[in-house]
């Protein structure tokens, strides 16, 4: 553990170095770390990095491997999760921004990559899981009928032995489509939407991305607040949803872009709000239009509701849309 009375600037560098080590494949040396630190705006040389690495080693957060490489320890990974609380509040938006920037789906051609949620399940549960995901392959339970199955030897995703990975399109893909078309978009919050007779009635609970260190979707799933199966069977229940805002002047352009997205099977918009007016009881910033969308993760959360053991990773990574298969 890094004590909280360490100089905040040193603390930030230590954390960034650990992050760089975690993100690389295998052990990584001081020279490469120094280069990556510069890319991220930290003015630090190879010697400086060595000094910081010594601190990390002493505290058991990194470990020397081979000549000069370092790898992260279990304690180090825990530290990345727990440390520097002040920088982690609202960090989900930073992660979202990074993914949005790396996404390049073209709504005219349907080529490019999309943001996906991933889930890991046991091989034995595969048929049962697929039954649920296939039944819930469209709005409001999924963003898109396209999914991807990852086997143990998948080159892009680490799938543990005896398990299968599944990727479904994440609703943040909507944000990246808007940004790719020049529309500034601010993801605001994740929430639970109450459905009555198959229609959205009102937002029931909200958690703002800017005020939490825990992903809102995880909060609702782990607290078992969803009732996706009930909604599927009776039309009444609570589904996961999220909200983003765009400028009022971009309204028509956004409609046009989202219509095109619908043609390539990406659709999850609930409705567009009036300017600066609450939509489904959820607040909207003055001068903005709110776009509430159903979360793409509902079908996976339904699997969890059914009692099957599933590890869900919302807003997980990006993958080529063309490599996904239609259910």
């Amino acid at each position: 553990m890094i004590s909280s009375n360490t100089d905040p600037l040193v603390l930030r560098k230590l954390m960034e170095i650990m992050k760089i080590i975690t993100e690389s494949d295998g052990a990584v040396g001081a020279r490469i770390i120094a280069d990556r630190m510069k890319e991220r705006g930290y003015q630090i040389g190879e010697r400086g990095v060595r000094y910081h690495l010594r601190i990390l080693d002493e505290r058991g957060l990194t470990v020397r491997e081979g000549y000069s490489g370092r790898t992260i320890t279990k304690k180090g990974l825990q530290e990345l999760e727990d440390g520097l609380i002040g920088y982690r509040v609202g960090f989900i938006i930073t992660t979202i921004d990074e993914l949005i920037y790396n996404t390049n789906l073209d709504v005219d051609t349907g080529t490019g990559n999309v943001i996906v949620n991933t889930a890991i399940i046991d091989k034995n549960d595969f048929d049962e899981v697929m039954e649920i995901i296939s039944a819930m392959s469209s709005k409001p339970y999924s963003m898109s009928p396209y999914i991807r199955i990852m086997e143990e030897n998948d080159p892009e995703f680490k799938v543990p032995e005896g398990k299968v990975g599944i990727a479904t399109v994440c609703s943040i893909t909507i944000d990246s489509i808007l940004v790719r078309n020049g529309i500034p978009v601010s993801p605001r919050y994740g929430g639970l939407i109450k459905m009555v007779r198959g229609e959205p009635a009102e937002f029931w609970d909200l958690v703002l991305y800017s005020g939490t260190t825990i992903d809102p979707m995880r909060i609702f799933i782990d607290r078992k607040m969803t009732s996706i199966f009930d909604t599927y069977e009776t039309g009444n229940g609570k589904l996961l949803a999220s909200m983003r805002e765009i400028p009022v002047s971009a309204y028509e352009h956004a409609v046009e872009v989202l219509n095109k997205a619908q043609e390539i099977d990406i659709d999850c918009l609930i409705r567009m709000s009036e300017p600066g007016t609450p939509v489904l009881k959820a607040p909207i910033t003055p001068g903005k239009i709110g776009l509430p969308v159903y979360a793409g993760i509902n079908s996976m959360a339904a699997v969890k509701e059914s009692g099957i053991d599933i590890t869900i990773q919302p807003i997980s990574t990006i993958t080529d849309y063309k490599k996904m298969t239609r259910l």
Binding site: D82, G83, T213, I214, K281
Partner: protein, 258 residues
């Protein structure tokens, strides 16, 4: 008495937890000199047959200092508090909620800003830092209830080994009130309301979290750490944090009900 802001009478917009907190603390009338008046309670609904086990857990947690006070009120099946009715086969245990501290400070003229609920890592009995938090103005669900259901707490470990993660909430207060706040907190402790984990320095991070300019932070132990322990030990417990206002005269020290 019931909290006035509920979902039913808010027709146009969803209510964030900060509004509910402010509504509740406005209703606190606890008087430290007489030891009477209204405080805010959390209610835990439990299976009737488990009440003895759970009361013993609660007592252990209270005596170890991980609670605000030892006062409780047992609610029988069918009994109602505010909008909450205890179902058949269940009992309710009302305990003191940590935002009572904000209510008492407010009524002493201190402008207090409840900020967030979070998890604090404790090492060998010393609070080290916040590791997760959710701001009150960013959520419609009580942050401590979220963190409790997230299986991130290790309050039992904290009790047995002195190290673990406990539920804590934080408020900020303007710096010129610092001396008066310390006095009030001392008086509260004498009147049986404790649970202060740390009073921060002016313009200085508290447990790793920054404070607003010219403010200081006060970290208070969450009233639901005892529920977290019961839950960690496998008991079914349905918590309703910040659920109602109750006169402290209607409550008794836990030793009287065990």
């Amino acid at each position: 008495m019931r909290a006035r802001i509920t979902r039913n009478n808010s027709n146009d917009q969803i209510i964030f937890i900060i509004s509910r907190i402010e509504d509740l603390i406005y209703n606190v009338t606890f008087d430290m000199s007489t030891g009477s008046g209204n405080i805010i309670t959390n209610i835990s609904i439990i299976k009737s047959e488990q009440i003895d086990d759970i009361l013993h857990i609660f007592r252990d947690v209270m005596l170890s200092g991980l609670a605000l006070s030892t006062f409780v009120k047992i609610l029988s099946p069918g009994e109602s508090v505010g909008s909450l009715t205890i179902p058949e086969g269940k009992h309710g245990i009302a305990t003191v909620c940590s935002i009572t501290v904000d209510g008492v400070l407010l009524k002493k003229g201190i402008p207090v800003k409840p900020k967030f609920g979070g998890l604090v890592e404790i090492k060998k009995g010393m609070p080290v830092r916040f590791t997760d938090l959710i701001r009150y103005d960013s959520t419609t669900i009580d942050p401590l209830e979220i963190l409790m259901s997230h299986s991130l707490t290790s309050v039992s470990d904290m009790l047995t080994s002195g190290s673990g993660k406990i539920l804590v909430n934080l408020r900020e207060i303007t710096m010129n009130a610092r001396n008066k706040v310390e006095e009030i907190l001392d008086d509260m402790a004498s009147a049986g309301l404790g649970g202060i984990l740390e009073v921060g320095e002016l313009n200085t991070d508290i447990l790793g979290m920054t404070v607003e300019r010219d403010h200081f932070g006060v970290a208070v132990i969450g009233g639901n750490n005892m529920m977290a322990v019961a839950q960690e030990q496998g008991f079914d417990i349905d918590t309703h944090a910040m659920s109602s206002i109750m006169n402290v005269r209607d409550m008794v020290p836990i030793d009287q009900v065990i």
